[in-house]
């Protein structure tokens, strides 16, 4: 209980830019005590007065300037007509976070595969950059239904040693053949549960470690605060019968091998 309390606080939106099918918000907060990590997210109040659940967004980047504050980059789906507008530059944005465990980085330079889908691609790209910083070779697998839903490919190609684009249905095949080719020590997934499951299973098949997002940050029907149980995932029997994990509070990053994906349907 010595961890600092998580409180909602006010940030200032300094940019709201289009980024393919998404929008990138830059938000300035008082300087963070510990730097943010890829795999963390923020929680922000509902967009409209008739909505009761908060919104969750992946953190896609962070820059802390002493004396000025921390700028968080948030890449979020362009809200559909009904769900309320995003804040404009100059607006205040209330948010809690960055929340949660991020992805663990290998202590030795190894080969890594990062798989992403949707707006989470921005967090995936950030993870690639971090892996390269610690000397890893990184291959990015970006999944999307439409070309413009791959996040910022130009930057992604600079952050990774190889980039493979695929439709979500082709993720398993792409990951399997990539794995056979580059023999990664670790596979990462950031995106929906279906992708996390695929990555965990491909990793298990090759004996590699996997770290995956255990909750589809950005999806509807989540509280993000660890209170509602909508994100609960069953663990393998070995963890004790009937054990579950609550990824938004205990993750969002989980070891892929711990989850009983079969039972998670």
């Amino acid at each position: 209980m010595s961890a600092p309390l998580l409180h909602r606080r006010a940030g200032e939106v300094v940019a709201n830019r289009p980024l393919g099918a998404y929008r990138q918000l830059s938000v300035v907060l008082p300087a963070l005590a510990t730097p943010a990590r890829p795999g963390q997210f923020v929680i922000t109040p509902p967009a409209r007065a008739d909505q009761v659940l908060p919104r969750t967004w992946w953190v896609a980047g962070e820059r802390t300037e002493p004396g000025f504050g921390t700028t968080l980059e948030l890449v979020v789906p362009d809200p559909p007509g009904g769900s309320g507008a995003l804040p404009a530059p100059g607006d205040e944005l209330l948010l809690t976070g960055p929340v949660g465990r991020g992805f663990g980085l290998p202590t030795t330079p190894v080969t890594a595969v990062v798989a992403t889908q949707g707006a989470a691609g921005a967090a995936g790209r950030w993870l690639c950059e971090r892996l390269r910083t610690v000397g890893c070779a990184v291959h990015l697998v970006s999944c999307a239904d439409e070309p413009e839903q791959h996040v910022d490919l130009v930057l992604a190609r600079r952050s990774a040693d190889g980039v493979i684009l695929t439709e979500p249905a082709g993720a398993e095949a792409a990951l399997t053949s990539l794995t056979e080719r580059v023999h990664p020590s670790v596979l990462y997934a950031v995106g929906p549960l279906s992708l996390s499951r695929t990555v965990a299973e491909v990793a298990a098949g090759t004996g590699a470690v996997s770290q995956v997002s255990g909750v589809d940050i950005g999806a509807d029907g989540l509280c993000g605060h660890g209170l509602c149980g909508a994100c609960d995932l069953p663990l393998h029997e070995s963890a004790g019968s009937g054990s579950t994990v609550r990824p938004c509070a205990e993750g969002p990053v989980l070891r892929g091998g711990l989850v009983d994906w079969e039972a998670a349907q």
Binding site: M1, A3, L5, L6, H7, R8, P45, P46, A49, D50, Q51, V52, L53, P54, D220, G221, L222, C223, H225, G226, L227, C228, G229, A230, C231, D232, L233, P234, S241, G242, T244, R246, A249, D260, A263, A264, Q265
Partner: protein, 301 residues
């Protein structure tokens, strides 16, 4: 009405295991921490494939939810109660079961815990489906026969059996909601069985398939209606005089005060915490600092 009752807690299914809340504020500042629903092992098994997770769907100013998966009682006994006791935090255990036996089993397990002293109250869920064991081969081993709260006689027996498991002075409460066809009869039965406070929720059955409920700010007026009705019944002597706890649509200081003004001694926060857990401490603070109205005889200038 002088019994101890927490002024505000999380609602069952909306406060996690209690520990998640600790990330957002000092639990010691609260009157008590509600944990649950607590169920017997495997209570929520859907065909043995693990516990069903809660599903939430947005609706205007509300949520439609399936019940939260129950915390297995052994997890509560082994992990949670020791944690709370070590910190001196009083706990309200919300308990759910389909039969009086299942509920009694959970209570027995809790009672056996070395950390039971930290349990300050038990809330029995009457909104959940009751199960009946049928003669073999007729309808399968158990059969859902509608919510407990639809059968006052069954509620009376359930509460009486729960009462037996618990120390005499431990607060026992019963929770009913919009699925209850006759709240007066059910309230009377619950108190008759041994409940010493009633938790009244405006949550309404909604959408299909079964076991979904509409909650959130949208249903606030239903909660106030239920509290008003039971207060009136108490005033008329048709329900024994016990304190009421309002839950459903209490989502900020204003609505908490409104619930108190309507006759609720305590409130519980559900959906409001999902949006911002901090509200729990805000409401607690607001209900604590209310100065009682000056006594009528106080006419000094």
């Amino acid at each position: 009405m002088s019994a101890w009752l927490p002024r505000v807690t999380a609602a069952a299914g909306c406060g996690g295991s209690g520990r998640e809340l600790a990330r957002f504020g000092d639990l010691a500042a609260l009157d008590a921490v509600l944990i649950g629903p607590i169920g017997p092992p495997g209570a929520d098994d859907a065909g043995g494939a693990g516990r069903a997770r809660a599903r939430l769907a947005a609706s205007p100013s509300g949520l439609v939810h399936t019940p939260a998966p129950a915390l297995p009682v052994e997890h509560v006994v082994e992990d949670l109660l020791p944690w709370f006791r070590a910190r001196g935090l009083p706990v309200v255990c919300a308990v759910r079961g389909g039969t009086a036996g299942a509920v009694a089993d959970v209570l027995q397990e809790l009672r056996r815990s070395l950390d039971f002293t930290t349990v300050a109250a038990v809330e029995v869920d009457l909104t959940t489906d009751r199960e009946e064991t049928r003669a073999a081969g007729v309808l399968g081993p158990t059969d859902r026969v509608g919510p407990w709260s639809a059968d006052p006689q069954a509620c009376l027996k359930l509460l009486a059996s729960a009462r037996e498991q618990l120390p005499r002075d431990l607060l026992l409460t019963a929770k009913l909601a919009g699925e209850c066809p006759d709240p007066l009869a059910t309230s009377r039965a619950a108190v008759g069985g041994g409940a010493r406070a009633l938790v009244l929720s405006g949550s309404v059955p909604a959408v299909g398939p079964p076991r979904q409920h509409l909650v959130g700010p949208a249903i606030g007026p239903v909660t106030l209606g239920l509290v008003t009705r039971i207060r009136a019944a108490i005033a008329a002597g048709r329900v024994p005089d016990v304190p009421l706890v309002a839950v459903g649509g209490v989502h900020d200081i204003r609505t908490a005060r409104q619930a108190r003004a309507t006759g609720a001694a305590g409130v519980q926060l559900g959906t409001a915490l999902l949006a911002d857990p901090q509200v729990l401490w805000d409401v607690h603070q607001a209900l604590t600092t209310v100065s009682p109205p000056p006594p009528v005889s106080d006419t000094t200038d």
